[in-house]
Point group: C2
């Protein structure tokens, strides 16, 4: 499921950079697979809870899976949002500014991969590292705004296209937030420690 | 918790319309309360699962609560996002277009309230009604784009302010999505029927 999410991010941003609208269709196919897995995983968790009544660390693990599953599914939605924005963008004139959307996409994909690796290996150090990388993505998004707003001012005839790129930068930033949520859930599953909302251990 | 979320939406959009930056501070206080409740509810669910090992409808109910809790917490984040965007907006010249952000905010608040009422009363008809209202919010968001993009083109010196309003419209739309998620979870909790991803009953 994480692999599908990574691919969906990659395809959506590659299609944008390569100006290849056909590639965008693959994002929708990937999202359909993500949604299928989402239901499968949710049902499997329900079954484990009902049949095995796990407690302590096992219970935290299942709850983490339920939450991670939701975040992955929402990342699929965001990939589709990128694909819609990219599709509209590719109808317009190219926005000729230097943007690091490819770099942003790469960072987000690494965050997804590493948050899931952290989960599989119970690696809280890696999960913590993912949390810290969220700032770099936020910064790239802010930079995109800083470059695109003046562009819009100087090229009012191409505002829509610039706006589409802005929205894509926001979509990527939101995906990074989901990867961050996954990393927090990994830490909770491994340690019982609640690192959300900047509070200390909850038990 | 739902009440705090409703208030946060209301304060954030009222502050914007009344151009009252002081009111925005209250959004942050409300979000802190939402986050506190989020942790409390999550811990309570963990305890119920560990101690009572619920099955069937009871288990679905607890899982629905865990998911609804996450959606309410993310709505708090969105209210804070609105507050940041509104704060920046209020630094600039007023954007003099007719926008229905107040109406949008009202619709979203009603969706939150009704999705939670549907949960409390096990009312799947009301939950279904909430699902159907998502389109009206999407439409208002699209209208906001349709009005603001030409404004930006004609007022390139006030692009940032118009962009802030655009982002607020998106924040409200995302809140409606969360209310929709809650309504889906209510239907699942009540009937065991999975209405996500447009599939039929999952069991």
């Amino acid at each position: 499921m994480g692999g599908f999410v990574e691919q969906a991010i990659e395809k959506a941003t590659h299609a944008l950079v390569a100006r290849d609208r056909k590639e965008l269709e693959q994002v929708h196919q990937l999202e359909a697979k993500i949604n299928e897995k989402h239901i499968e995983v949710d049902n499997a968790c329900l079954e484990v809870l009902a049949r095995l009544s796990p407690v302590a660390a096992d219970l935290r693990l299942i709850l983490a899976i339920i939450k991670i599953n939701t975040d992955l599914e929402r990342m699929g939605d965001q990939a589709v949002n990128i694909s819609y924005n990219a599709d509209r963008y590719l109808e317009d004139k190219e926005v000729t500014v230097r943007l690091d959307l490819s770099r942003m996409s790469e960072l987000v994909r690494e965050m997804v991969r590493d948050s899931l690796d952290a989960f599989l290996n119970g690696d809280t150090v890696l999960a913590q590292d993912v949390l810290e990388r969220d700032d770099a993505v936020d910064e790239l998004k802010n930079k995109a705004f800083e470059v695109l707003v003046p562009y819009m001012r100087q090229n009012p005839d191409n505002i829509e296209a610039a706006l589409d790129l802005l929205l894509i930068a926001r979509n990527l930033e939101r995906m990074a937030d989901h990867a961050t949520n996954i990393a927090e859930d990994v830490i909770f599953a491994c340690t019982g420690e609640d690192v959300r909302h900047g509070v200390g251990p909850s038990n």
